[in-house]
Symmetry: C4
Amino acid sequence: MPKPGAVLLYIRILLDDTGSTLGRRFALFIQALILLSLLAFSVETLPNLSETTRQALWLVELLTVAVFTVEYLLRVLTAERPLRFIFSFYGLVDLLAILPFYLSSGLDTRTVRILRMLRLIRIFKLLRYQRAVAHYIRAFRLVREELAIFTLVSAMLLFLSAVGIYYFEHEAQPEVFASVFHSLWWAVATLTTVGYGDIYPVTAGGRIFTFFVLTVGLGVVAVPTGLVAAALAQARKSDGESGDQG
Amino acid sequence: MPKPGAVLLYIRILLDDTGSTLGRRFALFIQALILLSLLAFSVETLPNLSETTRQALWLVELLTVAVFTVEYLLRVLTAERPLRFIFSFYGLVDLLAILPFYLSSGLDTRTVRILRMLRLIRIFKLLRYQRAVAHYIRAFRLVREELAIFTLVSAMLLFLSAVGIYYFEHEAQPEVFASVFHSLWWAVATLTTVGYGDIYPVTAGGRIFTFFVLTVGLGVVAVPTGLVAAALAQARKSDGESGDQG
Amino acid sequence: MPKPGAVLLYIRILLDDTGSTLGRRFALFIQALILLSLLAFSVETLPNLSETTRQALWLVELLTVAVFTVEYLLRVLTAERPLRFIFSFYGLVDLLAILPFYLSSGLDTRTVRILRMLRLIRIFKLLRYQRAVAHYIRAFRLVREELAIFTLVSAMLLFLSAVGIYYFEHEAQPEVFASVFHSLWWAVATLTTVGYGDIYPVTAGGRIFTFFVLTVGLGVVAVPTGLVAAALAQARKSDGESGDQG
Amino acid sequence: MPKPGAVLLYIRILLDDTGSTLGRRFALFIQALILLSLLAFSVETLPNLSETTRQALWLVELLTVAVFTVEYLLRVLTAERPLRFIFSFYGLVDLLAILPFYLSSGLDTRTVRILRMLRLIRIFKLLRYQRAVAHYIRAFRLVREELAIFTLVSAMLLFLSAVGIYYFEHEAQPEVFASVFHSLWWAVATLTTVGYGDIYPVTAGGRIFTFFVLTVGLGVVAVPTGLVAAALAQARKSDGESGDQG
């Protein structure tokens, strides 16, 4: 019989040491279980499911929550400072993934279940992508101020476009461009170039206005791309200069 | 009772010193009022508003204009050189935000009211983003000439595409591609990749033409993105070299 | 009465010296005339034009061709080496702008008239944008080989997508995805993200296939943007290093 | 009569030495044949083909396979190490292009025939674009880790968007947003900005959700562009520094 200390160490390796074969396999198993859980969640929304399918999905749910609960309890029990783990980001995410199951009695817990997706973030621990993540974070910190300005200018542009098209199209299509809020939906669909086709200008004035809005708007949309490109290049470069070049 | 000079100083801090707690709060209050005013403006365009809502919106309008008027008068009275303030950019914007209310008698002032949005620009004063704004301005100055060429080439491409598709599609869809102007609307919706779906080619020739137009067109659209990216990187870099690195 | 040599010099300044006030004004006048001619061309395609409008458009056409003819003859007569001018790029463009008018007798010359647009290229002479144009040319020369590879890969991707979606959707929508050529039209509209909405997958297989095609396809589309951005930055930089920084 | 050694050398030049005029012409002939074969494949899918056309397409197929078979046998026979060629990438591709023709007896071999497209890859040998290809490969290796993170974040975003819109729109449009899988199709069409128009939100909540999804989503889409741009610039630069600048 192994000593309690050895068991504790063994469990810690299982749960946290993704460098070891055992820890790596356990982490992959948990990730697979999360994906299975999310798939089950999606399948449940399909219309006209047979009773057999419903029961299978319920079993998957039971299994998932059981494993997640055991894992959570082990993490709390083997943590050096249990309270600190419970209130850490990963601790709260792990709790959120199982709590709704126990709290609900007849309630629709489906919405809360997608929070389990947050657990997928742990994959970053598994994949040793710290340096790449650090590049992203540094890049976004570099362009924080520029992005804030860009967001404000975009919001103004959206609002101005909506008001403009409202005046051009309201009379010709009173049902479609019924208010500035309806026009805002047009502005979103147009300036992102999604263009569903449920709402579009038909008057000559509205179309010319759309042309000018798009000319300016696409220029504005090009800005964050340029910002992020420049910042990532800078983050990567300063990383390379300060040491370990890839 | 405080001296008149102290009152003047107090008001100036309130209106302009966004570094102080008082000035900061007042600026935020004004910004919130502008947003409220724009929201009221949007709600007014909704169809089938009840009488109660209309009266509430009217009250919001009265309140907004009242506060803006007091603020404007204070700014003029406490300015060191009142005339200079009145004809400054911010002075004119502030006047435009209230003048229509007083001038109109029965007229539809809604169009003019959205000019109040311009007052939101003051937020840049609040948020100390001068350096980021300077980056943008420098970047756009760097690529001014290239952007002018790009605009000309794009305009030519739009016109050529419109004429081309007109010859391919006019016979097959005389109602949709009725003239070069109708085709221009197609060219705008297509080359910006919005693609509403209200107008599109159906002949084999028109579709092959669309393919070539898009191949060239998307290459052209990629240019300003590249331009702005390169210019922003350069602006940021030369800023960093000349001193205060972020 | 001035000497013939002085007249010749005077005409040369008028036609070519865009640095002088006179030459500049004449160049702007010709550019305005080209735009007027293109506008008239577009208006002519409008349905249900009145007889008066038709006559006005005919007058514009007569006037335009008359001025262009006089200008062309003056350019030939005052050129130091007339033959060299006639067979130069600008010489041929100028000839193409007027020749169709004289050759046609009852033929539809509208198609050829848009060649006048080529004359707009002279605007670059007017606007002293040589350096920016040089940046573009150098950038495109730098990425010539990469763009060729990109074009080949894109063409393969388009064809593969078309064949793939044909097998997924042909049975479900035999009228819409009637052949690989119909599917190619879908591939063009989808991979450029235009998405008119006249042709789209409805089967689960076709939609999953579309997802993968778009994931790969948008990555491919991102490549030329990156290429041009990098090349423009390099062209601008090497220009700055070799001398006259903006 | 030439010696066998000379014939062997002659054939090797024909097949592989694209630097020689003969080898170049032969390579171009094969490429043209591949394109012809792919065109025939596409034409075959057209509905209502006449019997004459079918027979012509069959002849093209016979001719193509005959030439490819001879070429393949010559390559195997003249290779210094035949087995190595047979199991090389190009060897397998060449085999795949002809094998289905001989194996099938009444089966539909059309699907397999598009594998011939892979033979087009040989064009890179012809066009001496090794350095540009090397740039691409180095750039993608540089950003491998960042792209992996980006892919994971995009997949999460897609799933979250689908679940979100399902809750907003399912009640209002139970047929269109029938399940999370249907919503995933919406998420794909929207976040890639294709926007076919077959599925879109109609409730205020769903539209506001779409706005936020697009705001975040387009930012995410901008990331790989920036990544590739930065990496290509770096790959090109380090290539230039280590020697032969273009």
